[in-house]
Amino acid sequence: MPSAARLRPVPAGTHPPYLYPDYRSTPERAPAHPLIPLAQSEAELGVAQFPDSILRANDADLTRQSSGEPLGQRIVVAGRVIDEDGKPVRRSLIEVWQCNASGRYAHARDQHDAPLDPNFHGYGKLLTDDQGNYRFVSIRPGAYPWRNHPNAWRPAHIHFSLFGNAYAQRLITQMYFPGDPLLALDPIYHSAPAGARERLVSAFDLAFTLEGIALGYRFDIVLRGREATPMGV
């Protein structure tokens, strides 16, 4: 295996803390002890390989996974996955999942009293291309209430799971929509430090908009960059 360069440390002020009491599920799940720094080995620099053959028809078009059309505003979400040096994260797996236009997940445990849409499952997967680009079609997810605090509503969001090109780049996050008034009230969004959380908000982009069909949103994702020197040099 060729020696890959290690990933640089994550700068302070990037990720949420584990313990963020305003998000009420964290106090009983956040580790109490500090994380132990681990020297990256080949294992942390390798990554699970996913060939094109995992992709099924319409994995990247969530509006065409049933016999009928889902209800809601059609959207295109597209962007680039790059590292901190601006280099493309190539041929890497992205998984997405979201609720429907009414704010209901097609999930057995979602008890929100909003209608399911028989034509919308709300999940897809894709691989970035050689320039790190990705694109999928969906419908705009609705906001939904949750029990975190009185009158709590999650802002509209799409969940993203990214593998990057290294195990230590693994990231699960959420994409939000510009101008959503619920962002100001959402403890999960606010758990990410100011100056970083804004990167979770997509931008309306006319260039991605399909005339007469769907609104376009750009969401670029930045994963950890690498040290200048390969391991063992």
Binding site: E84, W97, H107, Y123
Partner: protein
């Protein structure tokens, strides 16, 4: 330099979207079944966690994704360690975790945490949390404690 994208919780509703990559848990002859539970501060099972087990040197199953069940239970496969010890990298995501957690599970011929070769910096009290214990039926038991008594050692990569 573009700023890193922050992490957010996986939430409770990931199961269907990520199911395509679930490991088919059918241990073969040369494998060991490692099972246990994900537990919270109060010792309660975490029923909505995702574990990813990364063993790049094991061609049979380098990547396994498993979900916890109603009592927080999970199971995955590891190769027989032979005379040497070996370990797998494990990532945990769950509702209430704003970032993923990285840990390791070790298999060793003895049940002695002191015999494990661990990365520097692992506190004495945390060594046992990284060892899967052999059971009478040939499987191994490993609980993942997010917080509290016997808290699992988690790493910063």
């Amino acid at each position: 330099m573009p700023g890193l994208t922050p992490s957010q919780t996986i939430g409770p509703f990931f199961h269907d979207g990520l199911r395509w990559a679930l490991a088919s848990a059918s241990p073969q002859n040369s494998t060991i079944r490692v099972s246990g539970r994900v537990l919270d501060r109060d010792g309660k099972g975490v029923n909505d966690a995702l574990l990813e087990v990364w063993q790049p040197g094991w061609s049979a199953a380098p990547f396994q994704r498993v979900y916890t069940g109603e009592a927080g239970e999970f199971a995955f496969a590891m190769p027989q360690p032979g005379s040497d010890q070996l370990h797998a990298s494990v990532t945990v995501f769950a509702r209430g975790l704003l970032c993923g957690l990285f840990t390791r599970v070790h298999l060793h011929a003895s049940d002695d945490p002191a015999a494990l070769e661990l990365p520097p910096g692992v506190p004495q009290a945390g060594r046992a949390s990284l060892l899967a214990r052999r059971q009478g039926d040939g499987t191994c038991h490993w609980d993942l404690r997010l917080q509290g008594e016997g808290e699992t050692v988690f790493f910063e990569l």
